[in-house]
């Protein structure tokens, strides 16, 4: 259940939406994002870039998966705010410990190594950002990601969709 915000009963029932009390980093106006601080946004953008990298087709960075995640953190993903705030900090802490710099400062190969560690050490956060990056890349652009439908172009999914296909296949009556 990677996307679960399941609360265990021992942990107290009063906070119906766990984590929603975490405030938006953008509130001081210094960040271009709604929830993330400017630095957090750069880190998430870099993580997305490693999860679905650009090659001959754009990756999650070009698709603006970070915009999808940031937008949803003001909506249904409010419950994941705490997980993001702590998870991003854990990624930077792991980067410093292993390579002596913040995640965004590392070359791609080292970033991949850090993420592979995070996949084990902060498994819950990694599952979250993995699922959300895929959604922000492969999902509908209306939710803030998949800019210019880059993933759908990559997969060759017709857009705008062919509708009423069957009518062309069948002979006209009368």
């Amino acid at each position: 259940m990677p996307n679960s915000r399941r609360q265990f009963l021992g942990a107290g029932l009063s906070a119906a939406v766990a984590g929603s009390a975490i405030s938006c980093g953008a509130s001081n106006g210094a960040s271009p994002w709604r929830f993330f601080t400017a630095e957090e946004g750069r880190t998430v953008d870099a993580i997305c870039d490693r999860i679905i990298p650009a090659d001959r087709d754009p990756g999650a960075k070009e698709a603006r998966a970070v915009n999808y995640i940031d937008l949803q953190l003001t909506r249904p993903f409010k419950r994941y705010r705490k997980a993001y705030r702590e998870g991003i900090a854990a990624v930077d802490a792991a980067s410093r410990k292993k390579f002596g710099g913040r995640f965004v400062e590392l070359p791609a190969g080292q970033q991949t190594e850090v993420l592979a560690d995070i996949e084990k050490s902060s498994a819950a956060f990694f599952e979250l950002i993995l699922a959300h990056t895929r959604q922000g890349f492969y999902g509908d652009p209306r939710h803030g990601g998949n800019r210019n439908r880059v993933s759908w172009k990559m997969l060759g999914v017709p857009f705008p969709p062919i509708r009423g296909l069957e009518r062309y296949d069948q002979p006209k009556v009368g």
Partner: protein
């Protein structure tokens, strides 16, 4: 102001409740149909691949309301609250039409042995496997009625395993898609008996509604052209057209009201403005789906029924099950994707029964068309989950992967159950459903067997690589939820009688998949429809103008 008394109060406007409303209203009974969800139409098709009834990462499209309807799930990790869009919640839907508003609409009749599982296979360790008190022949005329009145397309004449039927399906199948053309000859080479999937989906104009236009937004979505058939566009409008039925949406039922003698007198519900209303009625018919029907009975307490209505012998909420869905996928070296919906098109019933050493089996069919994000679940276990290799695989395989899957008939478990939670309440202050239990190990054994057959089919069809997906042992619920108010002749080991009437109270019925003793190796909706027609018929035979004969 008191609400006007009616003959029948039906709680839940899904598959069962919709049929019952139409049958009773047509017979002249005054009916109120309560639905906790909203009333959607074809215009509500938003084609949102992240927020629909199948992919719920941004929420359910068709209910229930995310923040008002928690449940408690008890599993290996402990007990915790789950919300409607999360796995483990066992959601179906909450809207007019219920699950039939957004389902895949496969229209299966169960087989004769599906009603006689215990006599066919004997006891299965750890399971409450039992025969139905009725047989296929009791349902056959009502299966036919459902197929004609609601409208089923397909061609099952090549299904040599099906039980006797008097009529073919009223509509021809949709024209074959590419997967069908690939899988048909392969199944024949294997000596199997493939045929066109029966579906509650118009292949030609039928009953005033259009034919399917073959789009890719099918299961999980509203049907944009109203070609897919549910109770919302058939029997419920027919019920309303009689002038005898009123639908009230946004109404959450709290409990069934009982008089001093333990007879039902109606129900108490919260209206859309959260005001508590009391609707009196001669009959109360519970059609909320297996989880919520059990919850409503258990939340109905009375001096005579201290443990919940119908629960004298502790059977309400027991035997919650659905279907285990094993799957196999195959990667081809050419494009198999043709962008023609609904996708699912071809099926076999060669492995529903008669499998050596196994108590049953299940139908196999190709999967519905996959939207890009849904394909993430199809990626095989040997592919890294992120980075270049994952992207490479998705790019290569998205249009070259065929999936075959099918519902394995589950072995019911007494401890797989719905209770009401002693602490957690919903938005209205009503105790919520508490789900616990697991699948029977034999169910998973059967799943491994049918997954192997699915994989063999793909290999025969020329897949260059194949892989299986076998579900885990956790509790089954979800769209096909069933079993919690078992139908039976013995009040000590069942909740309702053959007529779907509570053993305990003669003016309360449960008419939905809750009464299914076992759930077939098939999608259950046509059986829910058929049984609702049958139970309505039996109810009307006993109807005396203000009550039913005891």
């Amino acid at each position: 102001m008191a609400l006007k008394h009616v003959n029948a109060l039906i709680v839940g406007a899904g598959a069962g409740g919709g049929v019952v409303a139409k049958e009773l209203a047509t017979a002249g009974l005054s009916v109120v149909l309560l639905e906790r969800g909203n009333w959607y139409s074809a215009a509500d098709c938003r084609k949102d691949d992240l927020r629909n009834q199948r992919t719920t990462v941004l929420g359910n499209a068709f209910g229930p309301d995310e923040d008002r309807n928690p449940r408690v799930l008890v599993d290996d990790r402990g007990e915790g609250i789950v919300w409607p869009s999360e796995s483990g919640y066992s959601n179906n839907a909450a809207c007019v039409g219920g699950g039939t508003f957004s389902y895949g609409a496969q229209a299966w009749r169960y087989m004769e042995k599906d009603f006689r599982m215990r006599s066919t296979y004997g006891a299965v360790a750890g399971s409450t496997l039992e025969d139905w008190p009725i047989g296929y022949s009791d349902l056959e005329p009502y299966y036919e009625k459902a197929e004609r009145e609601l409208g089923v397309s397909g061609d099952v004449s090549n299904n040599i395993f099906q039980a006797r039927r008097n009529q073919g399906l009223p509509m021809p199948p949709l024209s074959p898609n590419k997967e069908y053309q690939i899988l048909l000859p392969a199944a024949k080479r294997l000596g199997w008996h493939p045929f066109d999937l029966p579906m509650l989906r118009n292949s030609v104009p039928y009953n005033g509604r259009a034919a399917c236009m073959r789009c890719r937004w099918c299961v999980g979505f509203a049907c944009e052209v109203n070609a897919r058939t549910g109770t919302h566009n058939t029997v419920i409008p027919a019920a309303l057209a009689t002038g005898n039925c009123e639908v009230r949406t946004g109404c959450m039922t709290r409990e069934i009201l009982l008089d001093d003698h333990g007879q039902a007198s109606g129900a108490a519900y919260f209206d859309p403005h959260d005001r508590l209303q009391r609707q009196t009625a001669d009959l109360v018919i519970v059609c909320c789906g297996a989880v919520e029907s059990a919850r409503l009975l258990l939340n109905t307490r009375h001096r005579l029924f201290p443990n919940g209505l119908g629960n004298r012998y502790d059977w309400v909420g027991r035997n919650l099950h659905a279907h285990t869905y094993p799957a196999a996928a195959g990667l081809f070296d050419y494009d198999t994707y043709d962008d023609i919906g609904p996708g699912a098109s071809i099926a076999i019933c060669d492995f529903n029964h008669g499998n050596p050493g196994l108590a049953g089996g299940g139908m196999l069919a190709n999967e519905f068309i996959r939207l890009p994000y849904q394909f993430m679940n199809q990626v095989p276990p040997w592919v890294p989950r992120w980075g270049q290799a994952h992207k490479d695989f998705v790019r290569t395989a998205y249009k070259r992967t065929v999936t075959i899957m099918g519902p394995v008939q589950e072995m019911p478990m007494f401890d797989a159950r719905v209770q009401v939670d002693p602490k957690v309440k919903d938005y209205w202050g009503i105790p919520v459903a508490r789900l616990s239990g697991k699948k029977n190990p034999h169910t998973l054994e059967i799943a491994r067997f049918t997954a192997g057959k699915a994989e063999a089919w793909l290999q025969e069809a020329g897949a260059v690589r194949t892989w299986q997906r076998i579900p885990g042992p956790s509790l089954s619920g979800g769209q096909h939820q069933a079993g919690t108010c078992r139908m039976g002749n013995d009040p000590k080991t069942s909740v309702v009688d053959q007529d779907c009437r509570l053993h305990d109270v003669d003016n309360v019925y449960v008419i939905d998949a809750s009464v299914h003793v076992t759930n077939g190796g098939f999608n259950p909706v046509l059986t829910i429809f058929a049984n609702a027609y049958r139970a309505s018929h039996r109810l009307l035979e006993a109807w005396k103008g203000s009550k039913v004969r005891s």
